[in-house]
């Protein structure tokens, strides 16, 4: 933990512990003394887990991978907000300087019928993978890298597609939504392809299949509260949801099947 500031704080963690998907979980309290404010939230959990292992206890399961804010693995619902109190960051990019000495911090897993708890704070987000499998791809041959440049794409379309493609599939939108809706995720994936010429061929099937699969996975419905957009670490816009609604309405009325 290479902190170079001398500032440390004491916090109380209240962490959701659940042995597996079938057993009931409960909160457990952990006192964390002398936490460096330069630590990331996950590094604090590493320290806690080292302690638990030394004490012969079961360490806390939580998802993490790149710890650079780009993989979408880390989750954690911290003090009533996915990825904690800061906007536009994932939990791995949340630092303890965002908290104050003496704070009590409640940490819960993403709560969604479609994201069953695997253990403690780790949830199974493969529902997202199955939605992608339902249509979040293009099956036309787009050739090699140089061939992509043969199709000219307007700058604003490329920018919008890129912004939608910034979605890392972390599931914060589902976690934040009071309805547990996955509309922001699905609409980002629909948009990034619908905006580009290569995505046009299958665009009707794509949106119909992905939305159908989204509903089958048990996600809730969108009521446009905008919580997903506000909590998204990648700033995915509600414009994408409107675009998906347009695509869906259009495809429903004009599909030739």
């Amino acid at each position: 933990m290479g902190g170079n500031s001398e500032k440390t704080i004491n916090v109380t963690l209240k962490v959701w512990r659940q042995r597996n998907a079938n057993e009931k979980g409960k909160f457990e309290n952990y006192e964390m003394k002398g936490v460096s404010t330069d630590m990331s939230f996950l590094e604090m959990f590493d320290v806690l887990n080292d302690r638990l292992i030394t004490e012969g206890k079961d360490p806390i399961a939580f998802d993490h991978d790149c710890r650079e804010g780009i993989c979408g693995m880390c989750s954690m619902y911290i003090n009533g907000q996915p990825h904690g109190p800061k906007q536009g960051v994932t939990t791995c990019q949340l630092h303890m300087r965002s908290f104050s000495d003496g704070d009590s911090i409640i940490v819960e897993p993403w709560r969604s019928a479609a994201f069953p708890v695997i253990k403690d704070l780790a949830v199974n987000r493969s529902a997202f993978d199955r939605i992608i499998s339902a249509g979040g791809f293009i099956s036309v041959n787009t050739g090699n890298a140089k061939d992509a440049n043969n199709i000219l794409i307007p700058k604003d379309a490329a920018d919008k597609a890129f912004e939608a493609a910034a979605c890392i599939g972390c599931g914060a939108c589902v976690a934040a939504c009071k309805n547990g809706s996955a509309m922001l995720f699905v609409s980002a994936k629909v948009s990034q392809l619908a905006l580009l010429p290569q995505g046009q061929v299958e665009k009707q099937d794509r949106v119909l299949n992905m939305v159908k699969h989204m509903d089958e996975e048990g996600f809730g419905n969108c009521t446009n509260t905008g919580a997903c957009e506000a909590e998204c670490p990648k700033g995915i816009s509600l414009e994408n949801i409107a675009r998906m609604n347009r695509e869906y309405l259009g495809a429903s009325f004009t599909q030739n099947k």
């Binding site: 209240k14 909160f27 619902y77 003090n79 009533g80 907000q81 109190p85 409640i106 819960e108 709560r111 969604s112 019928a113 479609a114 934040a176 009071k178 309805n179 547990g180 809706s181 048990g218 996600f219 809730g220 419905n221 969108c222 009521t223 446009n224 509260t225 905008g226 919580a227 506000a230 909590e231 509600l238 414009e239 949801i241 409107a242 675009r243 998906m244 609604n245 347009r246 695509e247 869906y248 309405l249």
Partner: protein, 207 residues
């Protein structure tokens, strides 16, 4: 939800327009003429059925949505900081809508039933809706109930108006800011006009 909501919004425009006729302060003459037209015109009678169907559909959609959404999160969070990411009224559409529905029961009991009776008894030409208004709004508890109904409507519309456009896929940097502004002004003006009726009649400004 969006389509039925906008349909019901179109009715509000007509309703508030007719209500505003009391502000001529002509002993309800203009208002009664408008009310009489609404109670007797055959096209309006057919549209009334459409309105009730629209309302029922809106309520049915809301119930379906709420049940599905409850199922999508079977275990609730211990703590939710909703204020950090959304407005309270956008998260309370179900409660606001339920308040509106309760208000509607009282409201239809006050005025609609009387008009219906007059239609069936063939006394619609002698029916004086303005007299009914005076009677109802002379009681303070009805004024309070109506104000609660109108404020529920305002917050319901503050979210609902712009939300309906988003649901229908209408969202663009060019015109969405305008839609949001119109939504706010519409909600506030319509509801202030609605609220003005019970208040002015209770205070005796409109006689």
């Amino acid at each position: 939800m969006g389509l039925t909501g906008l349909f019901l919004v179109s009715f509000l425009v007509v309703h508030v327009g007719i209500n505003a006729c009391i502000f001529f302060n002509d002993n309800g003459e203009t208002f009664n003429a408008a009310a009489h037209f609404m109670a007797t015109n055959p096209i309006i009678r057919i549209m009334e059925i459409g309105l009730f169907l629209g309302l029922l559909l809106h309520v049915f959609q809301a119930l379906t949505l709420t049940l599905e959404n409850k199922k999508a999160r079977p275990i609730a969070y211990a703590i939710v900081k909703g204020s950090a990411n959304s407005s309270w009224y956008s998260r309370s559409m179900g409660i606001l809508g339920s308040l509106l529905l309760l208000f509607l029961v009282v409201h239809l009991g006050n005025f609609w039933i009387g008009t219906k009776m007059a239609q069936f008894n063939g006394t619609i030409n002698e029916h004086n809706t303005f007299d009914e208004l005076r009677e109802v709004f002379s009681k303070w508890y009805f004024v309070i109930i109506y104000l609660i109904g109108v404020f529920s409507l305002m917050y319901h519309l503050l979210h609902g108006f712009q939300s309906a456009f988003q649901t229908l896929g209408v969202n663009h940097k060019k015109y969405t800011p305008a839609i949001k502004k119109v939504g706010i002004w519409f909600s506030v003006i319509v509801c202030l006009l609605f609220a003005a009726m019970p208040i002015t009649m209770f205070l005796g400004i409109i006689k």
